[in-house]
Structure formats: C-alpha cells, structure tokens
C-alpha cells in the first residue's frame, strides 16, 4: 500500500514538534512545562510496563522514583560519584529492591494488590523522612559548583529538555523492544487470563517480577533526572503517593498497555493542569484543581480506553464505513457485469 499510515504521520509530527520546542520558545516557564510533560511521560511509560502491559496496577511507584533520586544524590553528595553513574546505580538499586516490593505485593491480586503497593511506598516514604543520613525531612541539596554535561547540572533549561527527551526516547525504545519480544506476549497473557497463562507454561510470579524490575529501573532513572534538574529532593517531592498516582494517571488517560499512550496522556494532563492553573489559579479556593479533576473524570467516563483507545475506535469506524461505501459502489457494477452470463455467476459475484 502506498498510502501513508496515519499513526506514522502523527508520530513524525510529534517528533518534529518535540525537536523544535526549545528553539520556538525563549520563555523559561513554557520550556519548564515542556520538560515536566516529558518527565511525566517518561515515568508513565516506565509504569506502563508493569501497570499496563502486565496489568499489575501499582500505586507505589514513587518508591522507585525516590530510590533512584536518593541513590544518585547520596552517591554524589556523600561520595562524589558522577551523577551519570549514580543514575545507573539508582536504576539498579531500584530494580533489585523491587524484588522485595514484588515479593510482598504479588501474592495479592487486583485491588488488594494496588492497596498493598500504596502501603509499601508509604513505608519507604516514612523511612526516608526519618533517616538522618539521607537528610530526613529537610531533604538534600545538589551543589551547582560543577556544571556541564559531565556533571549533569546546567544553568539553562534547554539542556534539561534534551536530557528529558533523550531519557523518554530510551524508555520508549526499551518498551518497544519488550513489546515485540516474548516478554510482551507473556505480560499480556498474564494480564488477560492468568490461569490460562500458567497452562501454557508461563511462570506468572516470575514474569510479573520481571515486568516490575524493568519498570522500577526506568522509573528510578526518571527520579535521578528530577534530582539533577531541581537540585533539591525531599520525601514529599520524590516519594509521595500523589506522584505514584500521576504515573498511573498519564498511562490510563492516554491508553494503558500502548507504547505512546502515556506520552499522549502526559501532554494532555500537563496542558490541562497548566491551563486550569493559569486561568483559575490564584483565586485561593483551589478552583484550578477542581477543574483539573473534573476534566479527568470526563475523560475517564467518556473514553474509558484512554485517548489511544478512542482514536483506534474512530479509525476502525472510519475504515468500516469506507469499506461499506466501497462495497455499495462495487455491487451494482458487479451485477451489471454478471447480467449477460448465467444466474450462477451472479450468485458468485454476490
């Protein structure tokens, strides 16, 4: 087929927009919003590995984000370890600790599993709030004395934009590879029919953990990037339940278990958030938050499969309508062609 796939066109368009954003605006507030959208998208994509593909909806992912942020920051502040290495270490520590997280939560199913993840993440938050060495409730500062790519500290916003975009692309690439490998099929099998998955030889406990570890690794990378961007972390900013909810929310709004769902969800969510704040914020009555929440409810009610699901549905309907139109157009022609011959060939044409 010579016709270009609509999804490919939209994807290329999105990539083009992503590449020109830092040149199109000199307003640091706008650029900051774009960075936040990219960072939310990245952790959404990471969450989606276990929450979307494998269907294990965790609301405790802030634990992994925080562990990533704290690992790289502690290594930097206490031992002078380069933040790039620290970021990698954070990812690995998080992936390893996700074993304990999975061990305690995966024996539960469905909603109870989700509740357990909240509990485990809350325990992690409490530990860090009271842990003197890790700055307890005061938090940790990252010094600005060394700057540049090697130190992952920049005075300008644009550099962070590229970092966030790069990390998002790496996470998307990893998810794409997982989706196409046997892991992607196994995760979906576990989500759809766990008993049937076992009957075809899938060790579901093991593959849930594989999904969680991968997800924890990439979530932690996002946490380290946050620390390097803000140069300050404390438990509420990197370990709160609100953050866990946000990771799940961008995926659910955009479309769970789809590659680009969390990216779309994040762009929409960040836009709604900022617009409602710009228009209704500062009234001191939380109007912006109410509108923000209201819009989420509207999307959830009318598009339960997320924005991607809604889009796929539209494409399907459009195709069905076009096929019907083509069949209608073809039918009289076929009948005309068949008329001179016997009645059996008319039957075959229909």
């Amino acid at each position: 087929m010579s016709r270009l796939n609509t999804s490919t066109v939209l994807g290329l368009l999105a990539a083009a927009v992503a590449l020109v954003v830092p040149f199109a605006t000199s307003n640091p507030a706008h650029l900051n919003m774009a960075i936040l959208a990219l960072m939310a998208a990245q952790i959404g994509v990471a969450w989606n590995l276990v929450g979307g593909y494998a269907g294990q909806a965790s609301l405790g992912h802030a634990a992994f984000y925080g562990i990533g942020a704290y690992t790289s920051t502690l290594l930097l502040v206490k031992f002078g370890v380069n933040p790039w290495l620290g970021m990698l270490a954070g990812g690995l520590v998080s992936a390893v600790l996700s074993g304990a997280f999975g061990w305690s939560c995966f024996r539960l199913k469905g909603h109870i599993f989700t509740m357990a993840t909240i509990a485990v993440a809350t325990i992690v938050e409490i530990v860090f709030t009271n842990w003197e060495y890790a700055g307890s409730a005061v938090g940790l500062y990252i010094p600005m004395d060394k700057q540049g790519l090697g130190a992952m500290v920049f005075a300008d916003k644009a550099s962070y934009y590229w970092l966030a975009l790069g990390l998002l692309c790496i996470t998307l690439l990893a998810t794409w590879l997982v989706e196409r490998s046997f892991l992607g099929y196994y995760f979906r099998a576990i989500k759809d029919e766990p008993d049937a998955a076992r009957s075809i030889g899938i060790d579901i406990a093991r593959y849930k953990q594989v999904a969680l570890s991968l997800s924890a690794f990439f979530t932690a990378l996002g946490g380290s990037l946050y620390a390097q961007k803000e140069l300050y972390i404390d438990p509420p900013s990197v370990l709160s339940t609100a953050l866990s909810i946000k990771m799940a929310l961008v995926s659910i709004l955009g479309g769970v278990g789809t590659l680009f769902g969390p990216v779309i969800g994040s762009v929409v969510l960040t836009t709604i958030e900022e617009l409602s704040r710009a228009m209704f914020g500062g009234t001191g009555r939380g109007t912006d938050t109410i509108i923000y929440a209201g819009l989420i409810v509207v999307i959830a009610v009318f598009y339960p499969t997320g924005i991607i699901g809604w889009y796929q549905d539209r494409v399907r309907r459009f195709k069905a309508r076009r096929e019907r139109a083509e069949a209608d157009a073809a039918a009289p022609a076929a009948a005309r062609a068949a008329r001179p011959t016997s009645s059996t060939s008319t039957g075959a044409a229909l």
Binding site: Y185, D192, S199
Partner: protein, 237 residues
Amino acid sequence: MSLLELQSVSKRFGGLTANQDVSFSLDKGQIVGLIGPNGAGKTTLFNCVAGYFPPTEGSITLAGKTISGLAPEACARAGVGRTFQIARTFHSMTAAENVLTGALLRERKVPKARDNAMQWLAFVGLERFADKPSGSMTISEQRRLAVARALALEPQLLLMDEVMAGLNPSEVRETVDVVLKIRDKGIACLIVEHVLEGIMPIADKIVVLDRGRKIAEGTPAEVSSDPTVIHAYLGDE
C-alpha cells in the same frame, strides 16, 4: 509403559472428598473420555493432572516422570497441554497471537514462534481468522483456538475440558475432526465431556466417575451397557 498413569489419586478439600482412590492409565495416541454426572469430580481430577490442585494422596506420572504436585506451568513444560471449560483465550490478542504465545514455550524467537502458530491455527481450521481479535470469535472458534494454543506447547498429552458443550451439531463434528487429527499426531487426549454423542464414537476408552470414585472403565460399548453406569446416570427405576 503407559503415557499417563494415575495411581490411587484422592483429592480432599477439607472435609469434602472430590476424588477417592481413582486409578487409570492412558497410552500414547489414545483418546480417553472422562464422563460422569454433575459433581462427579471430573474437573477436579482434571485439575490434579494439570497441576492446578495437588492430589491429597496418590501419584500421577507422565511417561514415567512424577508430575503430581508440580505447578501448572511445570506440568505444561513436562508435556501436558490443557483447555478450559470457558475457553479463556487472551482477548487483547488476535487469534494468531494467542497461539504464538503458546508456541513461545518451545521457541523464544517471536518470528519463528509465529510461523509455528500459523501451522497450528491451520491445523484446527482457523487460519482465516489469524488477525481477528480472539474476543470477537464465536464460542466454538474460541474453544478450537484454545486447543491450538495448547497444541503449540507440543504436548504429549492434551486435556480438554468440555470442548463440545453448548455447540451445535455441525460444530461438534468440526471439533470431533480436530480431536481425531490430534490423535493421529500421536498426542494422547483426555477429554472431560457431557456431550456423549460427541465422545462415545471416538474414544478408545471411557472412564466413568460418580461421587468422586471410578465406577467403570472400558470401551464405550462396555461402559454404556454397564448397569452401575446406567444406575449412576438414571437412578433407580
């Protein structure tokens, strides 16, 4: 040596005895029907063989290897494929992807597993539905899809739980044809079935359960004239 051997298998749930001292065996390439009235313990016995319930007593061996007590996924790897009463196909996937996921057990590379899957799909006569979402297929098609998914494991033994229930006569015929083709491949079939006119003509052996116990075993002709069996199904005069 028999392929599958059950020796005095009992399964109790607390005070409830679902299976009591059941023994029978099954040879390579045999079709064995497991029948009995409702609540006879057929599905429980089935789940014991497939690893879903460990038997309370007794042993189950497949080709000389003990499989009783193994987890379902380990039983699958050992060579036991199974289907469920409700097909339990993966609804987020197409028909081809369903079978592909089964084929991944023996072949981890997706393109190769896809080729294998297409062969099994054709084997059960569903190749034209390859790209159809499994959730939008009919019950009969989904059951056969589940059979293809289990066959993709390359099992020695296939357990089928009521594959013919609720099907119309032509669908029953299609399913019977598939079962016969499976047997011709040398795969043994253990079939739990209520549709007796589907299973009786093709089974090499019938095992009858009633209230958890084996009450008869033999060829379909022997079993259907056995007074104990008639009594269990129809009760006293």
